[in-house]
Symmetry: C3
Subunit: 202 residues, 3 copies
């Protein structure tokens, strides 16, 4: 099962980041990537054991718990990105709250199987746009600070709602197991790939 | 339905505050009122779709989800008020935790339909008093900082538990639809009215 | 019932700490112990009223809500301990997130009654070790800052998972009522005893 592969990979990456961040940053950095990977391990365990799912109207299972854990892991990631973009603390807080709201509305959109779910997909999208706007908006000092990292984030993160729309959560064009593989690939890129890139860049 | 009116009004106010706060405060202020309105939009959507309710002993529906969303929106509001009152950061944190506990106990009091709910109404009141005490207590430097804003907050916020007691959540003297109208009026005053007043004051 | 005794004791300790912390610290300290006791009051009320429990395979009740409230109370406690150990703010945040993850996985381990619960017991233990490591690791400046308080915390906190393993949540060697007494004793030592010691020390 693809979820167990996710458990294994993110367990290893948790330990790897714990080792890397313990060695490098000394006392002055938050070990973001350890926590991002650890949240993802718990999330994949819950999905691997199929502890809480609902059935889509086409009978396919929906693993809505994923979005609860994204509230934690993705908020940490976007605070990290806002730090790289040298945003002030209030903007980091805004970016984190927008990310949390994006994932929370994503959770509501996933657990609801009636057509009403599209309202929450819309609210999630609105919060996501708010997050991107806050992140990409140039600060007053004139420096844009829009690095290649931010374009990478914009492109890879925006694939999540596309998978959501194609999967049983949306139109049900792809099956739940294909969905799981696609999300795993995206999780690998946005969480482990991004983490390694950031760690080596610094 | 009154909840759909709430969705519409708070969707508009979200956009309005996004426009106002984007134009005015530049990079150095947290866009509190955008988030307060956005939390409220989600809350009213959940109630409009009647996604999660319990039945009071008199058969009337109880929309307990409201109190979950107040944890987010009202904590942001009280941090805002504490900022205006020039409280130090630790006191802002205390005020936010007291507010979150008030709303969390309000949620427990609302979802429980037996007489035991009154225990949690009591705990919610205790946390509310703790919040008001922390907010109104003069700081050491002698300046009281108790502005007219804080009296406005004390008066309008204290109407929420009165509606709760009269509504199906409490003694069931007023019906669920009257309750919804009263809460909407209070939400308009404490969230949009307050937000506009603060925005023009600054 | 032992839970009502807990309600009573922690209600008194909430008021006691509110009095002590209001008198002593003036405007510059977070009233940690008031909140720790208040979270615990709510937790014991929920258990006393048996509002949400599951049955272990041996038929004994499992009060899993306890672990939800520990997320709040124990995070506040470990931030307090990290403050005493003079950790920088990022390390305080790490300690708090590790504590929250410990308790969250403890909640999952408690609400799941199949053998799968041991996976989450393992994840909880991993987060607990991460928390202890962050707390005990000497800072770069060479000062170890490992006080007698931290050994006290290590010893008393580590008894919680031992009770969990012996109780219906684990192997079911001890009954639910004995478990409740042991947890109450540990809560008294780690929350009220610790709070009084810290308050008099300062």
């Amino acid at each position: 099962m693809v979820f167990w592969i996710g458990v294994l990979i993110f367990a290893i990456s948790s330990l790897m980041f714990a080792f890397l961040e313990n060695r490098r940053y000394r006392q002055n950095m938050f070990s973001s990537h350890v926590f991002v990977s650890f949240f993802t391990v718990i999330s994949y365990f819950v999905m691997a054991l199929a502890l809480a799912t609902v059935s889509a109207e086409n009978g396919q299972p929906i693993y809505w718990t994923r979005w609860i854990f994204y509230i934690g892991s993705c908020s940490i990631l976007t605070i990290d990105i806002a730090t790289i973009a040298k945003k002030p603390n209030v903007k980091k807080a805004e970016v984190a709250v927008f990310t949390a709201l994006t994932m929370f509305c994503g959770f509501l959109a996933s657990i609801i199987i009636t057509l009403d779910r599209w309202w929450f997909f819309g609210l999630s999208t609105a919060a996501y746009i708010g997050m991107l706007y806050t992140l990409f908006k140039p600060s007053n000092e004139g420096s844009s600070n829009i690095s290649s990292i931010m374009w990478f984030v914009l492109l890879t993160w925006s694939l999540f709602p596309i998978v959501w729309v194609l999967a049983p959560t949306g139109f049900g064009i792809i099956a739940a197991d294909v969905e799981a593989i696609l999300y795993l690939a995206l999780d690998l890129v946005t969480k482990i790939g991004f983490g390694i890139y950031i760690s080596t860049m610094r």
